[in-house]
Amino acid sequence: MSRLIFAALVPICLLLSPLAQAQIPDSDPHTAGNAALQYWQAFALMPTLDKEQEELVGKWTTVSLDDPQVMKLVENSRTSLMFLHRGAAMANCEWGLKYDDGMGMLMPHMSRARDLARLAALRGRYEFERGNWKVGRNDAQAIVTLGRHVGREPVLIARLVGLLIEDLAIDLTAPYLLEHKAPYPQAMAMFEALPPAATLSQTILVEKKYMCQWAIDTLKKEEKGKAGAGLELWKKFIDGAKDADALAKMDKFDEILKRMEEVVPVYDELAGIAALPKPEFDARYPKFREQAKGANPVVGLLLPAIDQVLAKDHRHKARFALLFAAIAVAQDGPAKLKEIKDPYGDGPFEYKALDKGFELKSKLLFEGQPVTLVAGAGKKE
């Protein structure tokens, strides 16, 4: 009888063994997982900030690093930052967003990611000030990667928060360039290996499919469920809008729906314009927007202000170009600038020596001012 049981158990065990093996976690530090899961562990382990600590983190570039509160904050962030680094080592990042929720889609990771990046920047500065260049550089790299991972979602606001986070790494690194002398080729290689963020054209098409279309479908569904409910929901859409008065004049549900459906193809045109080089975009966009808004007031309500997003995008690109140019200057002197072209001008960046460090200036204007970067002003004597 025991032979019978054995004969029956062997094939069953053989079949089930791969399933059992799949439950055993891999002990190697893997880089192929989902970075978002690591980031969420980092968020969960972030120190709880009181009002005063919130202010300290917000002013991470200027707070005194000898302040016991700051030192405590840096110490209490270590576990959380360990998970930030684990996430940043992974190429893939899936935040698990539910695009079908349309404009109601929640993105609770964004505020947490910004705060985590600020904590990392504070710790990075703390380490740079103590001459721990490698730790500081790793923090800066993890911040940039987190920014890319946030910005990989093709949603405009995710893209903006991604840029905001990446900018923290520039603010962290630039003041210490003269001391730690990061090698230019190594810095460029790191930058080029970063995970790509979503393009602006991609985000516009996602806006069309999941935001504009969601608004149309939701209004229809509400009206179908209860007569008048669609119109009530429409009032929520126009509440606080720039052209609220003009939009409020549209009080027939069918007319509202027709106007909204007319906006859908405008997104395709906008995506095409957003992909143009900056001079062409600047030349075509104002006219396009004016015409589209003139023809249909709902355009102003639904179509995002792409010009403002793109302006921040260009500023960000210029700042990174300035940072790499500053790395090259810190390594080989100002003469090196002749080899590096300002992506928004015809020649190299402008150089100005300061009492401590130097300033580089791009031809790109942001809010009427040239985009600049001050390098080498950080370390205390």
Partner: protein, 152 residues
């Protein structure tokens, strides 16, 4: 209890077993022979051979295991097709500025200061990470409990 000599008892005491007939002995002998022939014979090395019925049992077990494997495999294949009844948020939720929805953030697209303010607001609204008060299960893990780690 009756101590008197019972005639029935006397009659029963006189009874003697009858010798089995030759026919009965022959039938029992045949039956024993037949049963012995169905018992597995010892092989030359002393082990008994497994009857064919047991092989059928083993074969049935393998077939059952294969069926289980096919069922698991097909079940896995079909998983994405299963539509779970997911709850969708009510449309009005999109306009609740206490929540980090796409609609709420749209208002902050134009201004970096507005975006920072909104991010600050949503960061404050998130439950504090240190608040690990537990209302069910085995209670929150404390430092004392952690100190037992590795104790085994």
């Amino acid at each position: 209890m009756n101590n008197e000599f019972d005639p029935l008892e006397a009659e029963l005491g006189a009874l003697r077993p009858v010798e089995p007939s030759g026919e009965l002995a022959e039938r029992i002998g045949k039956r024993l022979h037949a049963e012995r022939s169905s018992v597995p014979r010892k092989r030359a090395n002393g082990t008994r051979s497994v009857p064919t019925t047991y092989y059928w049992f083993a074969l049935a077990a393998v077939a059952a295991a294969l069926l289980v494997a096919v069922a698991i495999w097909r079940g896995r294949e079909r998983t994405p097709e299963v539509e779970m009844p997911l709850a969708s948020p009510p449309p009005l939720l999109a306009f609740d500025d206490a929540l980090p929805s796409v609609w709420t953030y749209r208002s902050a697209l134009a201004s970096p200061a507005a975006l920072d303010q909104l991010l600050d607001k949503h960061a404050r609204l998130a439950p504090p990470p240190g608040d690990n008060e537990q209302t069910r299960g085995f209670g929150a893990v404390t430092m004392n409990q952690n100190s037992h780690l590795g104790g085994l």
